[in-house]
């Protein structure tokens, strides 16, 4: 611009023109040296705005958790300090320098963690029923997750501010939209866990419940219930986490017990679970594939794959697609309706891949909160 208008300004040599030319030159020099600094400040401000929102959210989650614990559990005395202490509860990740045997260690680790949560909730909510206790465990986990998100973002914000290192600030700034999505997803679970409503992750459990409802049921593993369902001359052994409390159970142990009981005489295994959808895919789309449809730590998947490989049983998978925002939020209608489509998919796979007299195992994977059987 200075080059463009320079000749004109020079042609009119007035004091004002000289001042304006100086201002422009000065602004140019400032921008040359401080552009990155200005960008850093802008990014810091973006992080600060988000951080304030997340702080409000995690405090709201904490307050709601305490309120629900008091309402349901009717504890004697003030539980707030104990809840605050438990908000900082952590699990030290397993050492994987020598990964052999890490799955069993993971199993032990997860069981210890579950035991700790159960014990803590028993103290915080002494009058809660087992179902309510399961839901309260989940509620505490959501509050803990929000607390962790807040602390990690705050860490990078303060570190960036202290060092004014654009690369530290940039890495948190670039993933802010995803972080907000995750925080929103967790926060939408608070209402569901407070009230014990079915959540998006529970679609697999609903499919299993629809298949096994009305048939005699028995416990086959920790928090896992199964039923034998006759269907077109075949026997379907359907299992899911025991509801209606918020639990995912130990489906790997359930499957191992069933297969060992039947000495591997099972034609196919069908796993049904919620799966993350890609942008553009509709909520509630039912897709079919092969493999173990199960998320979590990987321990369950590993054990399921191991046992099916031992008996060489084909494993079919049915995925009910949903966004991150649906996973722990109260179930949306398209997802509930998708469970009917998934039931039809299970029946079609049974008809196409098995003969009368065969046995089929159907595993409904996911959190069974708000879902009976």
């Amino acid at each position: 611009m200075v080059f463009l208008f320079g000749p004109v300004i020079q042609a009119q040599e007035t004091d004002l023109n000289v001042i304006l030319q100086m201002i422009y030159s000065f602004a140019f020099i400032i921008y040359l040296f401080y552009a990155q600094k200005i960008q850093t400040f802008q990014m810091l401000r973006q992080i600060e705005v988000t951080l304030r929102k997340i702080k409000n959210l995690k405090e709201e989650a904490r307050n709601q958790t305490i309120k629900t614990l008091v309402e349901i559990g009717k504890p004697s005395g003030d539980i707030a300090p104990r809840v605050d202490r438990f908000m900082d509860f952590f699990g030290i990740g397993l050492e994987n320098m020598d990964p052999a045997g890490i799955v069993d260690k993971m199993d032990h680790f997860l069981k210890t963690s579950k035991h700790i949560y159960e014990a803590e909730v028993r103290v915080l909510a002494p009058n809660a029923t087992p179902t309510e206790r399961n839901n309260l465990e989940n509620l505490i986990e959501v509050s803990q997750a929000l607390n962790i998100y807040y602390k990690v973002i705050r860490h990078f914000y303060l570190l960036g501010k202290k060092t004014m290192n654009i690369y530290i600030i940039m890495q948190i700034n670039m993933i802010l939209p995803q972080l907000i999505q995750m925080v929103e997803a967790y926060s939408s679970g608070i209402q569901a866990f407070q009230e014990g409503m079915p959540i998006g992750d529970g679609v697999g459990a609903i499919v299993a419940a629809k298949l096994m409802h009305g048939y005699p049921q028995r416990d086959i593993a920790e928090e896992i219930v199964a039923a034998e369902v006759p269907y077109e001359g075949r026997t379907l052994i359907v299992f899911k986490a025991k509801g209606p409390g918020g639990s995912v159970g130990n489906p790997d142990e359930g499957l191992i017990n069933i297969l060992n009981e039947r000495k591997g005489k099972v034609k196919i295994i069908i796993t049904v679970d919620a799966a993350g959808k890609l942008e553009g895919e509709p909520v509630g789309q039912v897709s079919e594939g092969i493999g173990a449809a199960i998320g979590g730590s990987g321990k369950e998947k590993f054990k399921m794959e191991e046992v099916t490989n031992k008996y060489k049983i084909p494993m079919h998978a049915i995925a009910i697609k949903q966004g991150m925002e649906h996973v722990v939020a109260p179930l949306v209608e398209p997802l509930f309706d998708a469970t009917d489509k998934a039931v039809e998919s299970v029946k079609r796979i049974v008809m196409e891949y098995t003969e009368p007299g065969d046995t089929v195992v159907v595993a409904g994977i996911g959190n069974t909160m708000g879902v009976g059987q």
Binding site: V8, R45, Q64
Partner: protein, 145 residues
Amino acid sequence: MGEKKGNMASAAGMTASWIAYAAILIVGLLSLFSLYMGFINYAENVDIAIIYIFIGAAGFAAIGYMLLRGKPNVAKQEPLDVKKVEVYTTLECPKCQQKRVRDFKRGDFVFKDDEPCTRCDGMMMITKIARKKEEEKKKEELSWL
């Protein structure tokens, strides 16, 4: 909560925002002056007047950019809060197929025998629990996808 929100603003953050506002004010005044000079010089010297007007317009454009760019995208989004959604429970009588829909209440779960049927002597069972449909969002021009 509001008080806490206010307390959260760090001193550095406040300083930064005041500097930004002061810069906007100064640039605004200079731009206004430049535009004024442009208009009063227009009759006498068109070349100089155009330069003044250009500088004034550029100044206001810079202010607009600062205001828009200064507000982060995340701040423009809906405020983050613990959302409460309406959830309904559908009950059906297995005997007479009578159907009833009511608001969800704590303790409801799918396949729970909940209440006696009002039409026959059967028990109504909860067959569905789902979130009420949100208002349909405006259809985006993405149908080709």
